[in-house]
């Protein structure tokens, strides 16, 4: 069996081109992980997701533990079998969604208690239970339970949550134990305070984990703050371990984070935006609800390899979105995930070719140029 491992293949400035080996397949980095919240990448067949070049998807522990339940997924053969995704899966710890979705949250040293947003049932989740659930799901890359504070927050509050997250990281590491084919990642916290980010990164690095995530960013702060925090954090993380920026982000966020040494990303933007009539393209974000598209026979991007971008008229997409037809969300999600995967492929190629900075500038120019002129 292949042991979980990370290999750095090339660097270009701060940008890294690597690959993560797992028993379920290799993940080319920088990688974007489509979000498969409740065992489905919304409005997509898994075959389509794979065909776009995704090497890994993300599953949400919070959603899956509530419905259908981690023990049930385990009895059904694990999440890969259940959702028909044979390649690697990363699961979050459930902590972030507990904070954003559940009611009556209560955090203690022991863990978090909350009410399900589905049926109101009370659940307890400790660091140990989070790792147990992720194991039941069969996750290849598991995340420590952490506490993610919303910004802005006081330094004391940020520091308290960061220190708690470090103690939980140790407990998760102990609960995870030795699993050669899988990995448990720690999560750097510390809000928008560089000194706290540094303390968190150093303490986690000292634990010798298989990978490191940066959490608690893209939660409302300006992009410059996020980038400052990455600049404070990444140099303190081991070079030979993958780095994952959680929940990020726009194409521009991703390019700038790759420039600062991030290897992995996940975000609901391409899928959620697709269900709301928005298309990501080489020339920026296009709102298909806009009446300018109503009689436009041109596709979103005639040069794309993705049928959703290349073969359907903007007029048709506009009609589907305005009429609330599910095919609209299906096609725009498909387009958006195709764009995100092509963005990642472009970044990987550019790093290998030693032209990352030029490529990043070309991406920005394309977005700034904006959409083709209306007819």
């Amino acid at each position: 069996m292949t042991a979980f491992s990370f290999e750095l293949l090339a660097t270009d400035g701060g940008a890294r081109r690597g690959q993560i080996a797992t028993p379920r397949g290799t993940i080319r980095t920088p990688a974007f992980m489509p979000v498969g919240t409740g065992g489905t990448v919304k409005a997509m067949y898994m075959d389509q997701v794979r065909a776009l070049g995704a090497d890994i998807i993300l599953g949400n522990t919070y959603h899956l533990m509530l419905r259908p339940g981690a023990e049930r997924v385990a009895r059904l053969g694990g999440l890969h079998e259940f959702a028909r995704w044979p390649l690697p899966i990363l699961t979050d710890s459930g902590g972030f969604q507990v904070m954003s979705l559940a009611a009556l949250r209560k955090i203690t040293e022991k863990g978090v208690t909350f009410r399900s947003h589905v049926d109101g049932a009370v659940h307890e989740m400790s660091p140990e239970r989070s790792i147990e659930i992720q194991g039941l799901l069969g996750s290849d890359i598991q995340m420590q339970l952490d506490e993610c504070v919303a910004l802005p927050a006081s330094r004391d509050e940020i520091e308290r949550a960061m220190e708690l997250s470090l103690r939980w990281a140790e407990r998760c590491r102990a609960a995870f134990g030795e699993q050669p084919g899988r990995a448990m990642f720690g999560i750097v916290q510390g809000g928008d305070v560089s000194a706290l980010r540094e303390r968190s990164a150093q303490a986690l690095a000292a634990m010798g984990l298989k990978g490191y995530a940066v959490g608690g960013l893209a939660v409302g702060e300006p992009q410059a703050v996020m980038l400052d925090m990455l600049e404070a954090t990444c140099p303190l993380l081991p070079q030979d371990r993958p780095r994952y920026l959680m929940g990020v982000g726009t194409p521009d966020d991703i390019v700038k984070a790759v420039a600062r040494g991030i290897d992995m990303f996940d975000c609901v933007m391409p899928t959620r935006a697709g269900r709301h009539g928005l298309a990501y393209t080489r020339r920026g974000k296009i709102n298909l609800k806009n009446a300018r598209h109503a009689e436009d026979p041109r596709p979103l991007d005639a040069e794309s390899d993705c049928p959703a971008a290349r073969d359907y008229s903007r007029a048709y997409l506009h009609h589907l979105v305005k009429s609330g037809e599910s095919l609209g969300g299906m096609l725009l999600t498909w387009n958006n995930l195709a764009y995100y995967q092509s963005l990642m492929q472009g970044l990987r190629d550019a790093i290998e070719a030693g032209r990352f900075a030029d490529h990043a500038a070309e991406c920005s120019e394309g977005w700034a140029r904006g959409d083709i002129a209306a007819r």
Copy 2:
């Protein structure tokens, strides 16, 4: 260019195996037409619909005239181009949906006036305007405007609407004129009164139309009444013209109507039921919401050619449906349309082989046997 024509290839009792030739392709009958309401077969890619064996889909004039509008569709190259369906399309007249969906309906000899359910705008639709709209859409098989009364209704009311529909048939025929590659079908009305059905069928047959529909059935009456009306109607329609039973129906309705000489069907059941957690199979209708499926790793039908029926566990489908995930509707719609198309293929094969009655009995036995036992 191929002229619109119908050829009867085989009969077996009352059941007919035929083919309709059109410039856009051949329609094998008995045929089931998936309903593509507003230019999309809901939750399906057109490529999937075609791959299931559909030779023709139905478009709804009422929906399309309101949104995106018939003139707009025409400017965009017609409905085939707009919706990316290159094969034949049949459009209804819009009359049925005006009666069921629009507000402030007013019927006069001239036509019908109504308010759009989308934006409240007042529209007028005469027989001539209905044909004009269907022409703008580029429809291959167009339907006359008719008045369809809800049952139960008084004989006088049924007769009045039937006679009005006959006068509108003449006006539609005149408006349609001569279009060799396309057809305009008349619609037999007459409610649940055999004598009125006979009068309608004879009057329409005398017009020498290219095809005949039977309308105003499956609107709440018992199946036996529907079948009685078909028995009163079909013998009076020309043998050498296709016959279309509008809006019907369940698999059992379809088999029994084919036995009585019907060639074409459309119905929202497979698509609508799919979005509501219901699967049509060889062994009857299965409600995926039922908890019995929650841990069942077996597929809907291991012997099906359709990936949705064959490759996904009932447990996963149950989870998707219970969670309101769009993939649930996508997979069940796919399964249901696959089942309907395989049903039609089975009927066509049985008629050719001269074993229609046996095949119909086998279908009924399968539905009566019911779903596989729970584990």
